[in-house]
């Protein structure tokens, strides 16, 4: 019940396009959903996060969409750039048990 399932495993998007990565969770107690970006050989960097009291959060070109009833959330990267090429991880946790449970990652490649 602690799993977070992430798809797709890899994604290729043209420069300027929209990249969409999806995650689904099982534990309805989760109430914090962050997305991390990781470059090779580096630690994950916190990109954006959402709590279940809102359905969408936008920061610059990055948007999280959250569907509580479906237990799904997604990351949208607008106007994708070659510098966005990285591995993206969704994660989830809940107050009182703040360990992050990570998805399996999506390797995003932005092509010119």
């Amino acid at each position: 019940q602690q799993q977070v399932k992430q798809s797709p495993q890899s994604l290729i998007v043209q420069k300027g396009g929209i990249s969409i990565i999806n995650c689904a969770y099982e534990n309805t107690a989760f109430d914090y959903f962050p997305w991390y970006q990781q470059f090779p050989g580096k630690g994950p960097a916190l990109l954006i996060a959402i709590r279940p009291d809102v359905s969408e959060k936008k920061e610059g070109r990055f948007t999280i969409s959250f569907n509580k009833s479906a237990k799904q959330f997604s990351l949208h990267i607008m106007d994708s750039q070659p510098g966005d090429s990285a591995t993206y991880f969704c994660a989830a946790s809940f107050i009182g048990n703040e360990k992050l449970t990570f998805g399996t990652g999506t390797r995003l490649t932005i092509i010119p």
Binding site: Y32, K42, G43, A45, A49, F89, S93, E98, F102, G105
Partner: protein, 113 residues
């Protein structure tokens, strides 16, 4: 403002040896969490320290232990190293009262031969 720092960057150890990894949290952060990330996988939670005590622990054996110091820095110790312990070890720190908001360091790459 320095972010989370970890040392060493890389480490090579032999099976059966012991290793100590170090982490300094971001300024103003008092909670430290440790994760293990195998190649091609997402990070797995090892444990979390707050006020110098282990607050939570993931599904890792007792060979993995830790410590937090009064200045909030932390150590991860692994005894009796196995080949399967080869991974990137990540430290994350959190602001006071926001233990779920975790900022990661660059990690220590441990190779066990």
């Amino acid at each position: 403002d320095a972010g989370v720092t970890q040392s060493p960057t890389h480490l090579i150890k032999t099976r059966g040896q012991q290793v100590t990894l170090r982490c300094s949290p971001k300024s103003g952060h008092d909670t430290v969490s440790w994760y293990q990330q195998a190649l091609g996988q997402g990070p797995q939670f090892i444990f979390q320290y707050y006020e110098e005590e282990e607050r939570q622990r993931g599904n890792f054996p007792d060979r993995f232990s830790g410590h937090q110091f009064p200045n909030y820095s932390s150590e991860l110790n692994v005894n009796a190293l196995l080949l399967g312990d080869s991974a990137l070890y990540l430290c994350a720190s959190s602001p006071t009262g926001l233990a779920y908001e975790q900022y990661f360091g660059p990690g220590t790459r441990l190779t066990v031969t």
